[in-house]
Amino acid sequence: MKDDRLDKFFQKRLENHEVEPPPGLFDDIQRKRKKSSRGFKPQWIAAAIAALVTLTLPFYFASDDEPEMVYTPRTIFPVIQEDEPHTPYPVPDVKVASSTKQAPQKQIQQKSVQVQNSKPDYSKDLANDLAYIDQMAKQSKREGAVLAFEADLKLYEEELLDRYLTSLEIEVIAEGLNLKSENMALEESKNSIGPLVRKFFHPDYYITVESVQLPSIPLPGIGEKKEKQQTNTDSPEKD
């Protein structure tokens, strides 16, 4: 009872008690209200996001039908110097094909080269590439380079890697062959296909394009080593 009386005593006297607020507070309140109403409200932000998504979605789906990348074919060859120190991955410095014009060309019998797309005919470039590859292979005094080159060709012929090779760009293959042959030689992996295969699948070497049917190229002096090469196909590395 005593407690209740105390509570009521305070309640009675304080419920209507007033303390004068500081002057200017009302103006301050109005200013704050105006400021907050001018700011971005969450519902407006949500509406803006929804509108943006609605407007951009059709463009997003429409762009899926078009090719992602416009491919411009080019011929790139690495500059290979015999005494240059070995640079493993990634791909060593390359120069754009101006050097290929000076490269001695050699008549090569091609079985068939078909590029299944509407792009310009690359058969001339291909002949140049093959001649260049052939020359590089010949010029190399290192046995490893020749073996590597042979191994690549073997992979083509046997269509072991058919599903990968069908999407390879002919120029890139040529480039890759040179790089690989050089690397193989420098690594002294003379009789091994393992490292070669690994490099062959390295994504740095390839660009996906239309299917290409590769020619088989007769190379002088390679046939004798082919048998040896076949026996080593499954062994990873051998010094």
Partner: protein, 180 residues
């Protein structure tokens, strides 16, 4: 302010009439400021709480359904603002277990009895003050207070009883017309 007059002002406030808003403010700001001071015991904090209270009142006045008195509705908003401020400052939970002897009281003899009562409530430790205000002045039960403050009912009861014992002592000493 008569109920008809009040209703008219509220409708004008819903229509964002600045004159009506000022009228409403002038009618109730003093009472709400006293509430804020009772809870916060700090002029600047009380002014901030009052300012926030009025912003909420003007923003939400269209939701007022005349089911309770306008004064009660606005006081509830003010109390909620004060509790939010105490929670933000984390002072309430720090001082809940504050010892009575550590509390810093500035008790002076006031001629005005109501001002004196307000003053002694303001000088209570924040935990005692909040529970006493909510229970004795606003009329909330211990269960509601416990939920509002995130404390147990027994804590609420003990805070109230300690607050009462301090206040009783002060009232008995200084207020002449208090019936013992």
């Amino acid at each position: 302010m008569s109920p008809e007059e009040q209703e008219k002002i509220i409708k004008q406030c819903v229509a964002e009439n600045p004159l009506a808003q000022r009228q409403l403010y002038e009618a109730y700001a003093g009472r709400l400021y006293a509430v804020c001071l009772r809870y916060l015991n700090h002029r600047e904090d009380a002014q901030e709480a009052l300012s926030n209270t009025w912003i909420k009142v003007f923003d939400n006045i269209s939701r007022f359904r005349f089911e309770s008195a306008l004064n009660t509705w606005m006081t509830k908003i003010a109390v909620r603002e004060c509790l939010m401020m105490l929670r933000k400052k984390n002072v309430f939970f720090q001082s809940l277990n504050e010892d009575i002897t550590q509390a810093n009281y500035v008790l002076e003899n006031h001629n005005d009895e109501v001002e004196y009562l307000q003053h002694i409530i303001e000088s209570l430790p924040v935990g005692f003050r909040t529970v006493f205000n909510l229970y004795a002045i606003e009329g909330y039960g211990h269960k509601e207070i416990a939920e509002m403050l995130g404390i147990s009912e027994s804590t609420s009861k003990s805070q109230l009883s300690r607050a009462r014992s301090i206040l009783r002592k002060k009232v008995e000493q200084n207020v002449f017309n208090y019936e013992r």
